[in-house]
Assembly symmetry: D2
Homo-oligomer: 285 residues x 4
């Protein structure tokens, strides 16, 4: 559908719902969905409103944005954004050698069941070129040369800007971003980690899980921050394992978890449902 | 908390959120939660709003109700209700001989983790008298005599009215209500069924599940209707079983499922989150 | 690994474990895994034993088979089979237009995480030719012409025999097999059904689930029998849904379930863990 | 049932299944269940065999034990034990002020669905006396006086010995056992921890989970060791939470998880299914 979305957050004060819905009604916009949440811990309000023109001379999104900023936005000290329903979230996918998440995302993208526009795949290896190109998507091989990671990240950022992308998905991209890149992609990069965080951070998470003898393994999708595997969690899921399974079986079972969790997180981000709330997320569903 | 709740449903037209939140703001009520949902299949809107007085001369709930009915309610053909936050949902629990759901609900009630007021327990057997009375709750033994079920149900209804109850919970009550009782308790009686509906309706559901060889068993909480095990589903949950388990093991595993599912359904009903939407429910969380 | 597997079932009498493990020990075979199960309902025993030669002149599998049949097998009226660890289960995958299960299986097969040999893909449509051939697997387009299903099935059976296949996987193959084909593929064909059976049999299962308002949807892998969607269940899984989701969302969420459940069922079948026990299965894990 | 159980572990060598089942057959014992597992990481074998006399002059368990120790046990360097099917696992339950696990265990015990004998409840508080005594079980109030924990633990150990108990269940017992007590109860004490370990060790686990913003919470049953919350894990389970839930809601949801997980772990221990395998467990189901 081509419904528009207004997302906003602000210091928690009363009257937000009334002010926002009143503004939209006064500008000939019909609300079809509205969710809001007040967090008593961070004392912040979050709101997501889906609306469409009601056919009586609704202003353009740019005009709405200007008018909203001056009135409701200013009054409540809001951070807000109007999202055009006709423009899909544009994503660059980053991958290394393990293709299960990429394969799952591209299949969903190609069958129209993941509401994003995949504008490019980038990798530090060539392994996923064939799969990517079979789906008709440009593949960019950006190796890290002589450990000069900043140079390689500069190429990713150039690609991100050239493709007018909104989102970087680390779909099993086995490089840790530099602090500069983390800052650049703040709130715009989603990583999939192969454990139920906060357990088993870092590399070889399934081997850690095997060594500890847990009875369930997990996967976690989170926003990338400079603090490794500590970014705000968007979604998690688990699956049962048992003592008979070597680490290789955990890897195989986990591959499905990772794909499912990453697809959910990207879908919710693309639908503008996810808000960063300090070190956590609010997901308005 | 003593926040009040306004629940409503109406034919789906635009402007509902704005009208309702505008009304509350204009009457000095502060909204702390608001959820709404438009069902394109039944073409109905559902809304739940939590609010409290903002300290500037808010009218009484009765006055709000009258005023709302005349204005917003009339305009949108709403069915609405203002719920006083200081009055808990008052529940009568019905049980036969299996006490696991009753035990779980009474424990939660006694520890303050189930937001209802248990005003009475009613049973067609004496088995649960001791447990009920240990919790300090009146126990009523209403046997079905000579198959005269209507007479027995009349006593339940009298008790329901005398205790000013809002909700009848069939916590493993092994009697099928007559059509008259179903009509009386329409939208006010929640049953727990020991299967993942629509599979395995009727009696001996775990034995049916065992005979079919399913790999997961379930439990379903639903509103009672005259159509047995066909009422609107509020909540469901499942647990894994395997070929080694006789029906008795399924009964034991299922007992936990039933308790968890029933507690969730009753909690959501008591928090005024559940709306009947034709043959289904909308649960605004 | 190249461990061999001995599978057997017999009327339930005592001494089975001792006789089988004694036989293997006496023929210089070392047991690394052994599971057995006595079903008191069907009064049958099931046993799966993984073993390898212990390096002291173990006979060939053919010799073991002959000897076992004459002695232990005859004594206990066993149905038994020795499986050579060097020969993978050979599978023909059948698909129509929905490729999510096929895509998932081929990705796993290509990355070495599904222990089968995919020898061919067969379809009544051309849609999945490109994906199949990208993985380097022969694709066979066998349309049903003028409703002559038996003719088309004859071609599938010829292919099955020519490729020396052991297993037919209906990976969202939207044709109902004739009774003759069901008989031919008895115990050798696995279907994935897009519901939590026994709920929502037949076509449009997600639409049925949406109409009923269930709070969880499921998928079921089962052996194909002439009784539609009534075959012995191998595996099931569910995922949570809610009132906001139209049938299309259930289809998308269900696609992951179907893939996961089908992969598990095929893996267990290929590892010789699944036994048909009347209308149910025993899965020795 | 009054089936006996033989449990054993030994360094991994071939011939274990054949030797054990041969021994039992030669002594007129009929095997009804047998599971074994070889761990290639710790190079150990684990086996659990359920058997009963076949009616032809089976020796007593004591005789079997002696004979087994001299022959098969000695040959394979086994640690083994014959468990009499007529003697239930005898458990002392320890609790502090939170009664949800105790309530759940006592209800199951009283209804015959938890295969243990509850011989006593011990507590450092009086809160659970009434509930315990209502179930007809002796309640022992052993407070920790002036921080002299060793003195209090001595009383628990005396009770343990006097009641001929096999198992101590820490059912939300908010005291950390001393190293001496941990040593005494090695392999005989099960604790329930209110998080999905290894995440959120120590106190206030739900508050930690809330602060981190996880999307699932968990519970873990494990054997007690001197290393806090690091003992071998027997069972784990999780439940979904979201951003709207304060820590109090996590506590309520977690209470059910804790009960279910603890009941499962205690059941499996009592059925002699759980083996300690270095820092992990093997659960033969």
């Amino acid at each position: 559908t081509n419904s528009n979305v207004l997302t906003l957050s602000c210091p928690d004060t009363t009257g937000v719902v009334a002010a926002v819905s009143g503004f939209l009604a006064a500008h000939n916009c019909s609300i079809t969905e509205a969710q809001h949440f007040d967090d008593p811990y961070t004392v912040k309000s979050f709101m997501r409103t889906v609306f469409h023109p009601d056919g009586h001379g609704t202003p353009s999104l740019a005009e709405l944005d200007r008018e909203f900023a001056k009135t409701v936005g200013a009054r409540f000290k809001m951070v807000h954004r109007f999202h055009d329903g006709r423009r899909r979230c544009r994503a660059v996918l980053a991958v290394s050698k393990h293709g299960h998440c990429l394969n799952s995302m591209l299949h969903r993208y190609s069958t129209g069941t993941l509401p994003i526009e995949v504008v490019a795949v980038v990798s530090n290896h060539q392994d996923m070129r064939s799969l990517t190109e079979w789906h008709g998507i440009p593949f960019h091989y950006f190796p890290v040369i002589d450990g000069r990671k900043a140079d390689q990240e500069k190429r990713i950022i150039e690609l991100f800007e050239k493709t007018e992308a909104d989102l970087l998905v680390l779909a099993r991209y086995m490089q840790i971003l530099t602090a500069d890149a983390c800052a650049y992609f703040g709130g715009k990069a989603i990583n999939i980690h192969h454990s139920f965080l906060p357990g088993f951070k870092g590399a070889k998470a399934y081997h850690q899980a095997h060594a500890r003898g847990v009875k369930l393994i997990g996967a976690t999708a989170h926003y990338v921050t400079t603090d490794l595997d500590e970014g705000p969690i968007i979604e998690q899921e688990v699956a049962r394992v048992d003592h008979t399974m070597p680490p290789e079986d955990l890897v195989t079972i986990g591959a499905d978890l990772e794909s499912v969790v990453l697809n959910r997180a990207v879908r919710w981000h693309a639908e503008r449902r996810v808000f960063i709330n300090d070190v956590k997320t609010v997901v308005l569903r």
